[in-house]
């Protein structure tokens, strides 16, 4: 039982984004989502450093070091794009104008708390970027992450031990093992990855996992 690859996780998440959505993709696995726009849908990608209508990386030699994404990698601007300054960009975020924020995670609690910016270690240089603004303002927050750490520790927990990014902000979690909704009752299974059992996921989850609702789509 190996679960989904990172690309498969990204594709699964992209499947749940409605047509016309305005989406901000965090750095790392979230960036992969842009590779999997379902047929007949168009998503508008926002990057918090001042661009709506972000496109893929430029061809070799055609990039502009002043056209970058939040991860400071070169990107392109699609037809219909707009540039703006940082205050306007975060007005979009904080003001609830973006439909979806896709973020990575260190930990997610069953109450939807997210920890994704610092391990809190004494030697760590704290760096938060725009993550706290995204979770505070965007209509939906989807986390995409490996179900467990490299050491096999669960990332989905009762309560986060790392410093929080936001309280009660995560709506859904897409992992290699499952899609899980954060409900008022805690983690609820939406879908298991192929060949993955409920028990297998529960064993690797640090809080109770509610079974899939029979009537849920």
């Amino acid at each position: 039982m190996s679960g989904l690859t990172r690309d498969e996780m990204a594709k699964r998440l992209a499947h749940d984004i409605p047509n016309g959505a305005y989406v901000n993709l965090g750095i790392g696995i979230p960036e992969l989502v842009a590779k999997f726009v379902p047929a007949d849908r168009e998503f508008i990608y926002h990057t918090e450093n001042g661009l709506l209508g972000m496109g893929p990386a430029p061809k070799e030699g055609e990039g502009d070091p002043e056209l970058i994404n939040a991860g400071k990698r070169q990107v392109t601007a699609l037809p219909g794009a707009a540039y703006f300054h940082h205050a306007d960009s975060f007005s979009m975020i904080r003001g609830g104008h973006l439909d979806l924020s896709v973020l990575g995670a260190l930990q997610v609690s069953s109450g939807g708390d997210l920890a994704n910016w610092s391990t809190g270690g004494p030697d760590a240089i704290p760096a938060v970027g725009g993550a706290m603004d995204l979770v505070a303002g965007v209509k939906s927050v989807y986390v995409i992450t490996q179900h467990c750490t490299k050491n096999g520790e669960p990332k989905l927990v009762e309560a986060c031990t790392y410093p929080l990014t936001g309280v009660g902000v995560v709506n859904r979690i897409y992992t290699d093992l499952a899609v899980i909704e954060v409900t008022s009752d805690g983690f609820q299974l939406v879908e298991l990855s192929p060949e993955i059992s409920f028990e297998y996921v529960q064993e690797r989850t640090g809080a109770p996992l509610l079974p899939k609702q029979e009537n849920a789509s």
Binding site: Y22, G80, I93
Partner: protein, 236 residues
């Protein structure tokens, strides 16, 4: 695949409900979305709270909406302008409520509402009747009043040009409150003189990014409020 273009002004305002808060762009006639306002009059929604810098002039556009008793409350900075007779009459007759807000505070409250900022402090109005009853706070030795963000169920604005993604360009000082109202409206409807395909506007020059605009409607030759007033026109 973005479907922001609406076929008629009627359709563009069809879901404005009784009791809605509606921001209407414009400073006097400059930037006033007169065709959308007339469609709103035809539509019939009533008990509206309207946010605009003024209260219209003559008996067309915003003044006609007020005259039709559709507006229960105005939030504005300057309800008294040339040829403004409709609002003063209803105000004196206690048939319309007025919340008077300093112009810069009005602009900032709208921007705050659209930016997810629920409240802010400002030096404007401290020690004046418009600051009375408001929380005052001393910060670094100066007094400021607390003001709250404003949002709206609908924002009706006018622009010069849009693309199919809803990106907007304005004309001169007709820009005024409209980019802010676009941010603060849950549903923002823009009437524009021209709609072009996405990609035809220079992304460096966009004033309102399309994320703030839900509907665009082409009105290629918009009426001019001052010309209608001068001609003694009324609406409907």
């Amino acid at each position: 695949m973005l479907h922001k273009q609406i076929a008629s002004t009627k359709e563009a305002v069809a879901d404005v409900f009784d009791g809605a808060t509606v921001m209407i762009g414009g400073f006097g006639e400059a930037g006033s979305p007169i065709e959308l306002i007339h469609a709103l009059i035809d539509h019939g929604a009533t008990n509206l709270t309207v946010i605009n810098n003024n209260t219209g002039s003559g008996e067309v556009g915003l003044a006609a909406l007020i005259k039709a008793h559709r507006v229960s409350k105005m939030i504005c900075s300057y309800p008294r302008t040339a040829n403004s007779t409709v609002f003063p009459k209803l105000y004196h007759d206690n048939e319309i409520e007025l919340e008077l807000v300093p112009q810069g505070t009005l602009a900032e409250r709208i921007r705050a509402g659209g930016s997810g900022i629920p409240a802010f402090y400002t030096p404007t109005s401290v020690g004046t009747p418009l600051g009375e009853g408001k929380e005052v706070r001393e910060i670094k030795g100066r007094n400021y009043v607390l003001e709250y963000g404003l949002t709206a169920d609908f924002s009706l604005i006018k622009a010069r040009k849009a693309d199919t993604h809803g990106n907007l360009l304005y004309n001169k000082t007709a820009r005024n409150f409209s980019p802010l109202m676009a941010m603060a409206g849950k549903t923002t409807v823009a009437q524009v003189q021209h709609i072009v395909q996405a990609g035809e506007l220079d992304p460096e020059t966009i004033i309102t990014p399309g994320i703030f605009v839900q509907r665009v409607i082409e009105v290629d030759e918009p009426l001019l409020e001052s010309a209608l007033v001068a001609a003694g026109e009324t609406y409907p």
